[in-house]
Symmetry: C2
Subunit: 339 residues, 2 copies
């Protein structure tokens, strides 16, 4: 039996298969596979856990990113999952696969950057594993503490809710496109986009402020892009959604890159992924209040309403008065390479 | 900068580098990188965490092991780390890297076996990640609960302590040698050794009983073999150790394989690794009592005293009246491939 015989399980199908084998939530597990974090119960109530596996050549290209960027980015992506529950980062566990003869400077830059990014948000690297591997493999498993707040799930969205996002979208996708086109990463026209891709900022304080408000119904982080992640949130909430293209806060850095490369800034904002902003839903009357709380907690991070939750089914994009369905336009590693 | 430029960090040196970057124990972290598990403190007191990364071609060969064996073995290896602290398995997080076009049956067998092995010891798979990877990559991160017991560390050994092991040693190394020699895995002469390699039993009940006794000074699991792991325990305790070759409980299954392959059963018992038995130290007057407690908790698992903790430095093997130093004979993935 070989793992690479032809069969076409998508990432989503594999996750569903693993979840069904694991037996889903229940007992002392409040939320199992399928949210940004698992929510533990029983003696471990108040603890949320997330884990992410990153593989060289699939998730990062050491030709396009320094070891320090890879370290920063992998920690930021995981912190973003904790932020999406409203948790305080607490403990991290790093598994590192390295080719034979690893250089001390490579390990120092990668891990040093990860540790300092974690420390900036109160996370302590507490353990791990180091093994040989044909390519660099990084697994981070992070524990976050809710204190006495309830974690904000994907599934709590209500019909008519405003769908909001923090910050600006599309920068990371544009930065990646710039680097993949072989353009100069130091070019001032693309510096913002390249930085958004290489050194994203996890929205830990914003997530915590939103959870503390008690006014957020559903939340998740934008790791694959609005076009993939909003259908997930809507479906988890048993609803659909509509997004207005004109309301999507496109990163000016993405527009600059779009101009230079003749690319599609809205496309990056919807489907480029890896912006690691937060998406949440709330009563439309609370958007302004929540925007103010987030701005105060973060020193000025914007909140934009981009759409609303609808009876569904499905998620639509409203562009120049026309509605079109949004399907999964995001990043599915398995589907992407299927014939 | 490339991760495979020539430089010769060993696995131990990488672990030390990562530990120094992470900042070691302190604050709410009771035990950091360097024991079988991290021991958390503060609001997460009583929780221990272990993580292990397994890479196809480095840690397992899908030509020699079925997906179900790989799943069983990876979960057993991690449960063994929890057992070595005396913890009750609680929660598991699985990251899975799979080549493109994964087969449903491959995923089902691998994960199904992992889930059922975990469930047998009270562990619930609560979350994870699934990504594409050029080779199969498995990362498990397990949380164990100490209840109101103190975790048993590597560092608590006292001068004059008896060094004891559970069960029999060398079976796994012999089974691997048998498979690598291309011999029939169904051959009754090697069935015990092959099973020891493919489907090891984590000593969760024994570890718990030993921790509950309050009589064990230091404990760890034998993942790399006595020749590597005893020097680690002795050094962590600030001591040396002496092992008597005649006292090492060599698995009869290893002796059968040694006869057939003209192999070295004592070598497998000392340095073959992956037996996942427990090694612990205690007052020499308590060995009998602890052996009885382990036998009761497990339905008959043996405990053998193999040596004692000495002023050191270093660990010696006493064979036919002669003492010889034991250096790191175990499995160091990085060192092994250095020129």
């Amino acid at each position: 039996m070989s793992p690479d015989a032809p069969a076409h399980l998508s990432e989503e199908e594999i996750i569903n298969l693993v979840a069904s084998l694991a037996g889903g939530a229940g007992g002392e597990l409040t939320v199992g596979i399928g949210d940004d974090c698992a929510v533990l119960g029983g003696a471990q109530a108040g603890l949320v856990v997330t884990t992410d596996l990153l593989v060289q050549g699939v998730h990062f290209d050491l030709g396009l990113m320094s070891p320090s960027d890879v370290g920063h980015r992998s920690m930021a992506a995981n912190l973003s999952d904790l932020a999406a529950m409203g948790a305080e980062p607490a403990w991290g566990f790093l598994s590192l696969g390295l080719p034979a003869h690893p250089q001390a400077s490579f390990v120092s830059e990668l891990v040093g950057s990860m540790v300092s990014q974690g420390r900036a948000y109160g996370l302590k690297l507490a353990g791990g594993d180091t093994v040989k591997s044909p390519v660099v493999v990084i697994n981070l498993c992070l524990l976050g503490a809710m204190g006495n707040l309830a974690p904000v799930l994907r599934s709590g969205g209500l019909l008519g809710d405003a769908v909001c996002v923090t910050g600006l979208l599309g920068g990371s996708g544009a930065g990646l496109a710039w680097l993949q086109a072989g353009r100069d990463p130091e070019d001032p026209a693309a510096a913002g986009a390249v930085a958004a891709h290489q050194r994203p900022t996890p929205r830990v304080e914003a997530g915590r402020a939103l959870a503390e408000s008690g006014q957020v119904h559903a939340m998740m982080d934008l790791s694959d892009g609005l076009a993939s992640d909003l259908p997930r949130l809507a479906r988890a909430s048993g609803l659909g959604a509509a997004v207005e293209a004109e309301l999507v806060p496109i990163d000016p850095a993405a527009m600059a890159v779009a101009q230079a490369l003749e690319g599609d800034a809205l496309g990056w904002a919807l489907a480029g992924g890896e912006d690691f902003e937060l998406m949440f839903t709330c009563d439309p009357g609370r958007v302004e209040l929540l925007a103010q709380l987030v701005a105060e907690a973060t020193g000025g991070l914007a909140v934009s309403q981009v759409g609303r939750l609808t009876p569904g089914p499905g998620v639509t994009l409203i562009r120049q008065g026309k509605e079109e369905p949004i399907t999964y336009m995001g990043f599915d590693h398995f589907r992407e390479s299927a014939p």
